[in-house]
Symmetry: D2
Subunit: 216 residues, 4 copies
């Protein structure tokens, strides 16, 4: 696959280049300008909202699919992403970790069975993380459809653990996701790009990428 990358010089850009090592980077877009050695078959953006206008412009220029994991996009920007989806395949999500997405799907479907169980969430991240609870914990809590008490541990260099507990008088069921490294999101982006390259135009979530992967 020939791919383009927005924010190629950033930390996440580095992770994506590593995950896409088997593919050709033919277009980069950074604060400093762009490089361009071919026409990308997919454009990937996990950078900042500030880059968004250039990203959309590039996707239109190349008429190529877009995988976008930028957080903090405004409602207007998200609307623009949807409009782009009328012409080409667009995959947008706030979390491209496969395991987190599957856990979210499980919770959404099975949480109703646990309506009369207690539920709590515990998450652990490295001590540099400022926000608590984590965005992922909030996303999982929403998937349970309940206001579970949520505990945030901040210690050492833990990349990110999340556990959702259900307990009743005689049983405890706990569902734990553990990220082993920060490469997780880049691997999800790769899966999304591979999907998008051959998908019909449309706006897709990462959940749909996973579900379609299953059907094929």
């Amino acid at each position: 696959m020939r791919y383009g990358l927005v924010g190629a010089a950033g930390r996440m850009g580095g992770e994506i280049r590593k995950a896409f090592a088997a593919h050709d980077l033919v277009f980069t877009l950074d604060v400093d300008g762009e490089t361009h050695t071919g026409t990308p078959q997919a454009l990937v953006d996990f950078s900042l909202p500030a880059a968004f206008p250039s990203t959309i412009a590039a996707a239109r220029r190349f008429a190529c699919p877009l995988v976008i994991g930028t957080t903090g996009l405004s409602a207007e920007q998200l609307a623009e992403v949807r409009i782009l989806g009328e012409q080409t395949a667009v995959v947008q999500s706030f979390n491209f970790a496969t395991g987190v997405t599957l856990l979210k799907m499980m919770l959404r479907e099975f949480a109703p069975f646990f309506a009369d169980w207690d539920a709590e969430i515990s998450e652990t991240h490295h001590n540099k993380k400022k926000d608590a609870p984590s965005g992922t914990a909030i996303l999982l809590r929403e998937a349970t459809g309940r206001d579970c008490p949520t505990h945030s541990l901040r210690m050492g260099g833990v990349p990110g653990d999340h556990t959702v507990f259900f307990a009743n008088e005689g049983e405890v069921l706990s569902l734990t996701h553990r990220a082993l490294s920060r490469s997780v999101f880049a691997l999800g982006a790769l899966k999304a790009a591979e999907f998008a390259v051959s998908a019909a135009p449309g706006f897709y979530t990462f959940e749909e990428v996973l579900s379609c992967g299953l059907k094929r």
Copy 2:
């Protein structure tokens, strides 16, 4: 609810009497004979295959629903249970723990998403347990549809823990069920009996009891 109990004098019978404390025990059937002070609205049997003929006879006599968790029934006996289901509601399962049943349902539905992840199972039980892996581990392994390596720890008085792990290069997802006591199965039997009392004639698994509970 007025209920009848086969094997009332056994260990599991004791657990069931405790779980059904809010209900009236009006009929018991044991090796020694029967006691009979009313007509049961549901009959419960978690005893041994030897009791099976008497159980079926009693269910027919009272024309009442049956909840049966006896393990080791023969194919002929299971066929007889199904025939009884044509006349009255029958709930039959080899595991009446709600959490185990839900975990099995989750695995059956979501395991395909983990086809390219590694999968292993680890289970821990008290040191008196002879068989390994546990029946529940086998049931969960079957639900994954894969031949996961399975590890059995036998130590102390652990009532029963089961974990199914999925891992890829960057993530680990682990689903753990932990029994807090042996009352778990009796609580499931209660849920099944409450269901059966008002259900249409038919043969039901414990999974169906849980799913119907959700729909109502």
Copy 3:
């Protein structure tokens, strides 16, 4: 061993009678009065501070060792326990779970090695438990000599889990104690009574009972 039991009719009294099943209960003391069929070789009290004067009087009357796990004793009452220790063996502790006591000893000795690691504590108990953090969590925190952030989960029927985490940039060490049932404390009381019966007069903690057990 012939033993006496204060609060024999209470819940904890029941647990102790079960744990001491191989021994002879020859003296009981309750709100209703006492029963007395022999001279106890050890007296056990895990009841309430209100019983304390009668307990001390009985220990003096029989001139026998005392194992006391009552919580909420006043400084004066604790001083009286120490004075009794001048005449007979007395074992006093606020937690008679062997594993908790060993974990406390480990933490007290090894916590200094973790001075430059982050430390947090997480504990889980059944949803009937009112206080948070648990007394055991406080005791473990004190053993670390640090003011670790402490998280309390309250759910289902969990008898009691405690984890102390240490983490740095590259490693996490976690020490977890899990109570399987409420019999834990009664088994510790038994170990203490067996120790006290043949010990020299003195005031002993449960830690000393465990350490002496090792030396013999």
Copy 4:
């Protein structure tokens, strides 16, 4: 600190250069030859036994402390390391992870208290790891002084988890070490080098480095 590095071009060499980023690399020794821009105050070798003769020669040439974590050294080579320790500070160990070393120390000291508990070990590593059980599991098992059943899970990209369980009828105590990345050993090497630079001549284990760190 000015340091020298054997096997600078290898994977572990890369980790060490990262961990020692605040220090000056003034000497490297590789299959291809050496680079030399200053006199090292400590020499670090986590490479292969084949490099051993050059390593010893370099340590003698610079009369500087040595930190050596090479596995697979012969008895003769280990004897040579000890002889070098008569002239300069030498730190030798087969595992430079601080947490593993502390866990080993805890087990060696406290395992006797668990003599009448069951004990088992479970370890998980990435699916590329060929040997089972891991060297660390063996080292921990030896520290318990018992022949604990040991379970090895091999899945995904897990850097390395080890749990030692002790369980009796009423309690489970589990001690878990989790490596977050492969940088763990390099950070231990740094700690050892910082120790060795100012230590008296002698042969030291990594345990002694940690214990001395505590005393200062």
